[in-house]
Amino acid sequence: MSVKEIIDRCEVLFEDVNFTSAREWKDAKPGRKVVGYLPIYVPCEIIHAAGMLPIGILGGGSDLEVIHGDAYYQSYICRIPRSTVELGVTNRLDFIDGMLFPSTCDVIRNLSGVWKLMFPEVMARYFDTPQNYRKDIGGEFYKNDLRELIESLEELGGVKVTDDDLRNSIEVYNENRKWVNKVYQYRKDKPWKTPSAEIYLLMRAGEVLPPEEHTQMMQDYLAAVENEERRMKDNCRVVLNGSFCEQPPLGMIKSIELAGCYIVDDDFIMANRMITTDISTEGDPLENIANAFLTDSMPFPSKFEPSEEEKGLYLADYVRQSGAEGVIFAAASFCDPALLDQPLLYHVLDDQKIPYIAFQFAENSGQMQPIREQAGTFADSIKLWSAA
C-alpha cells in the first residue's frame, strides 16, 4: 500500500464522526460490544480481553457543529466535553455499550456524571488511576479498581475474563506499542519524510481500529514512507506539548510545520504509549498492568509528581532524545491541567536554556494565522540566530 492510500484511509476514519468502522466491527458478529473511553488513559488490554473493541472518544473535531453541547457547558470550559455531549445527543454514539471516563481532570470527572444522567441506559464509569505510587498502597488500590472494572465489563458482555485472555491481550498491545514507538522514532530520525499531520492521522486510526489491524497499518506505513521521495526543508525541530486531551485541529499541526517547524515529538493521544515498557505476561496479569502504570508510565499533568527534583525533567529529556531545538506549548483553551502545569515546565526549560513558546487552541479553531505567526517567528529566530 502506498503512503497516500494508508493516509487516505486514516483520514476517512478521522473525519467520520459517526464511527462507521466501529459500527461495522460491532455488526460483524452478534453480541459484540464496543467501549468508548475519553482521554487520557485507560488500560485497553482489559477491554480487549473481554472481547470488546475499545475506542477513543476524542471530541468532535473541527467540523462538528455543536448545538446542544453548548447548552450544557459554560463558555469558560474547554471544548471536548461539549462536543462529546453533542455526539451523544445526536445519536452518534448510540452503538456504544459502555463509556469510561478516566481520571484526567474535573471536567472529565464530572462528565461521567453528566453521562449517567443523560444516557442512563449506557454503562458509564469513572475510572480512577492511583496518585500514590507505592505498590502496597496505590498498587493494591489500583488492582482492586481494575478488578471492579473487569467485573462490570463481564456483566456488560455476559462473559468471563480469564487470566489467559488478559495475557493474550497484553501481548497484542505490547506489539502495538512497539510499532507506535517505532513510528515516533522514525519521525525523530527523518521528520521530513513523515509530516506530523500523517503521523497524527495514523495514530488517530488506532483509536478506532482493532489493535491488530492498527499494528499492521503502522508496519505498512513505515515500509511505504521509506520509499517516498520527500525533500528536507530548512525547518527547525520542536517538541509539542500540552495537547494530551482535547485534540488540536489538523490544520494547526499542518500550520506549525508550514511555518517552518518540524514536530519531532508530541503528546497527542497518549493512551497508545502511556506504558513505556512491555508489560510482562508472566504471573498475575492484573498486577502487571497495575504495576506498569506505577513504575513505567509517561508523566502527564493530571498525575502528581511525588518528587520535586524530578518535576518536568521528562520534557527536557524528550527534547534531547529527539534532537529538538525548542518546545511549543499548545494547550487547549481552559485546560486546567495543562495550563497549571506549564509554568512548572517553563522553569525546567529556562534552567536548561531550551527556548519555548506557548499558545492555545480549541478543537475547532478556525483562524490559523496567529498560530503560523507565532510558530513562524519561533522558527525564524532559531534559524536566523543559530545561523548567525
Binding site: 494565522q369 496567529p370 503560523r372 505567526e373 513562524g376 517567528t377 525564524d380 536566523l384 545561523a387
Partner: protein, 282 residues
C-alpha cells in the same frame, strides 16, 4: 551592494520598502504604502512593488531577495518569507538602535515584543480575539464621529476629561461610544478615553513580556496616531505601572515590517550564497 525588497501585507495596508544591503551596511532607497480598501491585497502588493521598482528604474530581476512578511506567505514571487514579529523587531532596531521592545499596533492586532540589541525576539504577547483596541475599531469610531484618521491624534490631546470606554468587545464599545455622543461628551474626550483603554491593554501586554527598560518602539499604522503614543507615554510615566521604559515612535514606523523584511532578506541572501543554496530556498 545588492538590492532587496520587503513587502508587508497587512489586513488594512500594504507596505513596501526597497533597500541596498551589504554586510552591516544598508541604505533605504524607496518606500510605498497603499491602503487596501477592499481590493485584492495580493494583487495590490504585487502592483505596489512593481510601481516602486519602476519609479526607481528597476525591474524584479534587479532584486536579490524579495522578502514578504505579514500575510504575504502565499505570494508566489517572493524569495522567502519572515514572520511579522521577526521583521518588526528588525525594523524597530533599524529605526532606533536603542529599541529593546516593540509595540506593533495594526488594524486588527496588537503585539508586544521584547527584543535584544540585534533585534532577536526574546518574548512576545499578542492580543487575543477580543480586541477593541485596534486600528479598525478606531477607524469606525472616527467615521462615526465625523473625524478623519489624521485628526484623531491632535483631538485626543485636547481632551480635558476623558470618558473611559468599558468592555472588551469592540461591538459593545461602539454602543458605549454612541451613547456618549448622545450624552454630549466631546469628541476629544471620547477619543482620549479610547486611547486610554487601548494604551492600558497594550502596556499590559508589554509588561507581560517582562520588558523592564530601554526604548519601546511603536510600529504599525497606529504609531502615526500621536494621541495614542502620547497616552502610552503618560502610561509608562505613571509610577503605578512600574516600568522604566521610554515610548518612541517614528514617522516611518508604519514601514517597520517591510524594513525588517528587506534587511533580513539581505542577510539571508548572503548566508545562502555562502551555502550555495539560493536555488533551493526560492
Amino acid at each position: 551592494m545588492v538590492k532587496t525588497v520587503g513587502i508587508d501585507v497587512g489586513t488594512g495596508v500594504v507596505k513596501v520598502a526597497l533597500f541596498e544591503v551589504e554586510g552591516d551596511k544598508n541604505e533605504w532607497i524607496g518606500k510605498r504604502v497603499e491602503r487596501i480598501r477592499k481590493r485584492d491585497p495580493y494583487k495590490l502588493a504585487e502592483d505596489t512593488m512593481d510601481d516602486l521598482l519602476k519609479e526607481n528604474g528597476l525591474t524584479r530581476d534587479d532584486i536579490a531577495y524579495i522578502a514578504t512578511t505579514g500575510e504575504g506567505e502565499s505570494l508566489e514571487f517572493h524569495t522567502g518569507h519572515f514572520y511579522s514579529m521577526t521583521t518588526h523587531a528588525r525594523g524597530a532596531i533599524y529605526l532606533n538602535p536603542e529599541s529593546r521592545s516593540v509595540l506593533d499596533v495594526g488594524a486588527l492586532h496588537g503585539r508586544a515584543i521584547r527584543i535584544d540589541e540585534h533585534g532577536k525576539v526574546l518574548d512576545y504577547r499578542m492580543t487575543s480575539q477580543c480586541a477593541s483596541g485596534s486600528g479598525q475599531f478606531l477607524e469606525n469610531i472616527a467615521r462615526y464621529l465625523g473625524i478623519t484618521l489624521e485628526e484623531i491624534g491632535e483631538l485626543s490631546q485636547q481632551s480635558d476629561d476623558p470618558e473611559v470606554v468599558s468592555g472588551i468587545c469592540a461591538v459593545l464599545a461602539e454602543t458605549d461610544v454612541i451613547n456618549m455622543v448622545s450624552r454630549s461628551i466631546s469628541a476629544p474626550n471620547i477619543l482620549k478615553g479610547i486611547h486610554i483603554s487601548m494604551s492600558n491593554r497594550l502596556l499590559k501586554l508589554l509588561r507581560a513580556t517582562k520588558v523592564m527598560e530601554g526604548d519601546v518602539m511603536v510600529t504599525g499604522g497606529l504609531a502615526l496616531d500621536t494621541g495614542l503614543v502620547a497616552t502610552m507615554a503618560e502610561g509608562v510615566a505613571d509610577p503605578k505601572n512600574k516600568v522604566n521604559v521610554t515610548i518612541k515612535s517614528d514617522p516611518d514606523s508604519i514601514y517597520a515590517g517591510a524594513i525588517g523584511a528587506a534587511l533580513w532578506g539581505g542577510f539571508r541572501y548572503e548566508k545562502l550564497q555562502e551555502l550555495g543554496q539560493l536555488q533551493e530556498a526560492s
